[in-house]
């Protein structure tokens, strides 16, 4: 844990900056409220303050700084507000409650995992095809790259609608969008991995007269494992993004994505920020889980040191 101290330092610096940033961000509203409550603020009146930049206003009213950290619907919520909201919506709420982030997180997570499963399997299969068929290599790869330049948010609604029309709804459409985002890194990494054996390794197999299938199972596949895990880590993060994007057009019903969106309709910034952090934490956990699987697998294979 050599990194603990540096990480804590950086986090502390960010938090400090964050608190400071809250002041100009939220000062206008704080000034208005203060004025209503009878606390003197300079300048008086909404209009002149509106003309004024946030920083000069903050500079002239240090006595209301504290108010910028406790607003209900701030432009920028203070760190502790987000932390409290996170705590309340994860630990203090029943996990079955609609207000529980665990509940919404699970909805998103399940779509993520299904989508990731589909994407990873599809990616691996495609990679196997690409490595074994020149025709597939030459024709599919450029289009796989092009496919990733399409803004997913634009076609996600169409995917949802089309699948809906054939009676598929709920988790599966989200999972498919999530799979669409995660298959590409897996393809790229897996192709690299399956091609990682050196010409010498392959020649050796040839001298033993190994079949294509044997070469695949005994050489290409094990050689690709480190590459596979590296791309799975990217892929699962992409999956999570996909699941969230997929939640936006499913009727903003459940899930972290819906939570982000509905928060924005009602100006509930604290809710948005806590959903954001919940997502990032979920991503970190997922990546860490893959990393743990990677370590275990490599160790079992004897490659990990």
């Amino acid at each position: 844990m050599r990194s603990l101290l540096p990480v804590l330092t950086v986090v502390a610096a960010i938090l400090a900056f964050w608190y400071v940033a809250c002041i100009p961000m939220n000062i206008h509203f704080a000034a208005m409220q203060a004025e209503r409550a009878g606390v003197p603020v300079t300048p008086e009146g909404m209009a002149p303050r509106r003309e004024m930049g946030a920083i000069p206003l903050a500079a002239r009213n240090p006595h209301i700084w504290a108010e910028t950290w406790v607003q209900d619907k701030p432009r920028l919520p203070a760190p502790h507000q987000v932390a409290i909201e996170l705590w309340q919506t994860t630990v203090e709420k029943k996990v079955t409650s609609k207000r529980s982030l665990v509940f919404h997180g699970w909805v998103t997570l399940s779509a993520t995992l299904v989508g990731f499963g589909i994407g990873a399997v599809a990616g691996v299969l495609l990679a196997v095809g690409i490595v074994h068929s020149r025709a597939m290599d030459m024709s599919v790869m450029p289009w796989a790259i092009a496919s990733q330049t399409i803004p997913i948010l634009a076609i996600a609604p169409m995917i949802i609608v089309v699948l809906n029309s054939v009676g598929v709804q709920g988790l599966v459409p989200k999972a498919i969008i999530s799979a669409y985002l995660s298959f590409f890194p897996v393809v790229v990494g897996m192709v690299k991995g399956l091609r990682s054996p050196t010409p010498m390794d392959l020649d050796l197999m040839r001298t033993w007269n190994a079949s294509r299938d044997q070469t695949f199972r005994k050489l290409r596949l094990p050689a690709s494992v480190p590459y596979l895990f590296a791309s799975l880590k990217i892929g699962i993060a992409a999956s999570l993004v996909g699941a969230i994007v997929g939640e936006l057009p499913t009727g903003a019903a459940r899930g972290l994505g819906a939570r982000l969106l509905s928060g924005s309709y009602y100006g509930q910034t604290v809710q948005i920020w806590s959903a954001l952090f919940a997502t990032a934490i979920l991503a970190a956990v997922l990546v860490a889980a893959i990393a743990a699987m990677e370590r275990a697998t490599l160790k079992r294979m004897g490659v990990g040191r």
């Binding site: 990480v7 025709a135 092009a146 330049t149 399409i150 803004p151 634009a154 910034t269 990032a280 990546v287």
Partner: protein
């Protein structure tokens, strides 16, 4: 139905042709390298057309490629305006700012290991914040015009570029660094003459990944507030107006722009890292 069957027959035929070319004597030629994916792509388009017509799908669900092409040709001025707004103003400026910021940070991180060990984990956490969440916030902060789109792009590209540059700057071998030491080179001499050139393949890896991210980020950000021009704006309002042909025309622009952007970066990469084994063929 016959059209649908025709689609699959066409597919089988094209696939057979591609296998012939790919395994034939001309497989290595430039023509084959372009022809095979082109045949594949055209086949997909033709199948799409045939299936849409065969199943008589309503345009508001999935327009046929021919309709999209028609709309594309008829809307060139709008598409161009949108392209300028989103790609040139939003994506490119954000990309440049993000990459420069990442470069500057990479130098700091490279000089102070403490910073690297602190910033990288936190950075990867911040990078995991989904843009569908950060975009509305940035629009709230930076306004509706391209500045907020650029901000979204900056946030999206910063970390991948930073990670790659940082990894690249550590790419030198012990021997190379020792060599610099025997010449009593200063930090900056070592940086400019050894570490930066050696990092270039990594730097470009980051730049390539970020090029597609930049475009997607700029488009997506427009969904959360924009002036009445831009690719994301057009896509979102066109869905509301059920002008699906326009939606797809914009998607085509996005795909072309994204691939071209990627291609240009890859081209520069080839010029700059001509010396790297992966570029020497």
């Amino acid at each position: 139905m016959p059209l649908v069957i025709a689609a699959f027959v066409l597919w089988a035929a094209a696939w057979w042709l591609n296998i012939r070319i790919a395994n034939g004597p001309a497989a290595g030629s430039q023509a084959a390298k372009l022809g095979v994916p082109a045949i594949f792509g055209l086949t997909l388009l033709a199948m799409w057309e045939l299936i849409v017509r065969g199943l008589d799908l309503p345009m508001v669900i999935l327009p046929a490629p021919s309709m999209i092409a028609e709309r594309f040709a008829a809307s060139l001025p709008i598409l161009w305006q949108d392209f300028v707004q989103t790609v040139v103003k939003g994506a490119l400026s954000g990309y440049v700012i993000g990459c420069l910021a990442a470069f500057g940070t990479a130098i700091l991180v490279d000089r102070w290991d403490f910073l690297r060990r602190g910033l990288m984990p936190v950075g990867s956490f911040v990078a995991a914040l989904p843009i569908v969440g950060t975009a509305p916030i940035l629009v709230m902060w930076y306004g509706f015009d391209w500045q907020s789109k650029a901000a979204v792009v900056v946030v999206m590209v910063f970390f991948p570029v930073l990670v790659n540059i940082t990894a690249g700057l550590q790419e030198t071998t012990q021997m190379q660094r020792d060599q610099m030491k025997t010449w009593a080179a200063s930090y900056w001499q070592g940086f400019w003459k050894l570490r930066l050139p050696a990092a270039m393949p990594f730097v470009f890896n980051g730049l390539k990944i970020s090029s597609t991210l930049a475009l997607i980020g700029a488009i997506v950000a427009e969904f959360f507030g924009s002036p009445i021009v831009g690719m994301g704006f057009r896509i979102s309002i066109s869905v509301g107006q059920l002008a699906l042909d326009m939606v797809w025309a914009e998607i085509v622009v996005a795909a072309i722009a994204g691939s071209a952007f990627y291609g240009i970066v890859a081209f520069i990469e080839r010029k700059v890292t001509f010396w790297h084994p992966s570029q020497r063929g």
